[in-house]
Symmetry: none
Subunit: 153 residues, 2 copies
DNA sequence: ATAAATTTTGCATAAATTTGCACACTTTTT
DNA sequence: AAAAAGTGTGCAAATTTATGCAAAATTTAT
């Protein structure tokens, strides 16, 4: 996996796990984890990931993943070509939207390559219902699936 | 005080109507509308309203309301579908039964008109699996969907 | 009504974020 | 293999946003 993709996933992870209030804090966490990067790059990364500073329940500023788990226009262009449009969660379930007709094929890829994290999938024409195994967090599922999609390209 | 409430509403309105990319732009709009206010106050107002700079579909920065209210009355008269037989819940999932062959069409209507509340649908021939977004109660889902299909019965 | 308490606001400035530019690195084309 | 095109990055500076503080406005209590 390319270094940038790895870093983007790490950012998602950090932002999910920690209360990050500014890019300086994020920068420190990333450096802690061995990423040699600057605040300017993180600013661009966050823009690409569509992660913005929001207000949490206490009314304090914090970086948060939007409800949209990922949107391939933000990811590598290759993701779009394989046909994944979006991935979102509701409760323990994930729903992936794909190009029309692609759901079955992509679901088969997920079954074949992510069975350790994914209990099963049900595909329609352009929608896949993804049932994660117990014990996998959303961010883990997102990372696994986005890595999988990255690999397919 | 009353003035502040009025201003907060005006901010919501402006942010919804115009593509506001920074507080300076918002400031100008507000002054245009006769509000005598400063950027500092707008910063505080936005914090109170929990309106933050987000990224739109073009990947450009823009202030956005996070919780757009779904308004069924806007959608109700655009839906003229028949064929829904039942709607029942199991956990967070809803299952709609339709006349044979209608599931796909009705699911498309739901996707098109209730995306605010429905994360996704998967249609077979006469059954639609409906996955509500988090934060929507069964009653809300029922109301939204029955508004959508009220012309049926 | 007056005083006290609370909230709101502007000013100035600190803090935080974005971006132009130049260069390094990668991929594609010829 | 070299040239061209595209991508990613750091640096420094510009832009944008948040906030401490004191004053003004508003609300509440006496």
């Amino acid at each position: 996996m390319k270094n940038k993709v790895k870093r983007l996933n790490a950012i998602r992870q950090v932002v999910t796990d920690c209360k990050i209030s500014n890019q300086e804090e994020l920068l420190n966490k990333m450096i802690e984890q061995g990423y040699d990067v600057t605040q300017a790059t993180l600013s661009r990364d966050l823009k690409q990931l569509k992660i913005t500073k929001s207000l949490d329940n206490n009314g304090e500023y914090r970086y948060l993943l939007t409800n949209l788990a990922f949107n391939p226009t933000n990811e590598a262009d290759t993701v779009k070509t394989i046909g994944v449009n979006s991935l979102e969660f509701s409760g323990q379930l994930a729903v992936m939207k794909t190009r029309s007709g692609y759901a079955g094929g992509i679901a088969a890829e997920i079954d074949a390559h992510a069975a350790d994290a994914i209990l099963g999938t049900i595909a329609g024409d352009d929608t896949i219902l993804i049932i994660p195994r117990e014990g996998f967090s959303r961010i883990e599922i997102i990372n696994i699936l986005s890595n999988l999609i990255e690999h397919l390209s």
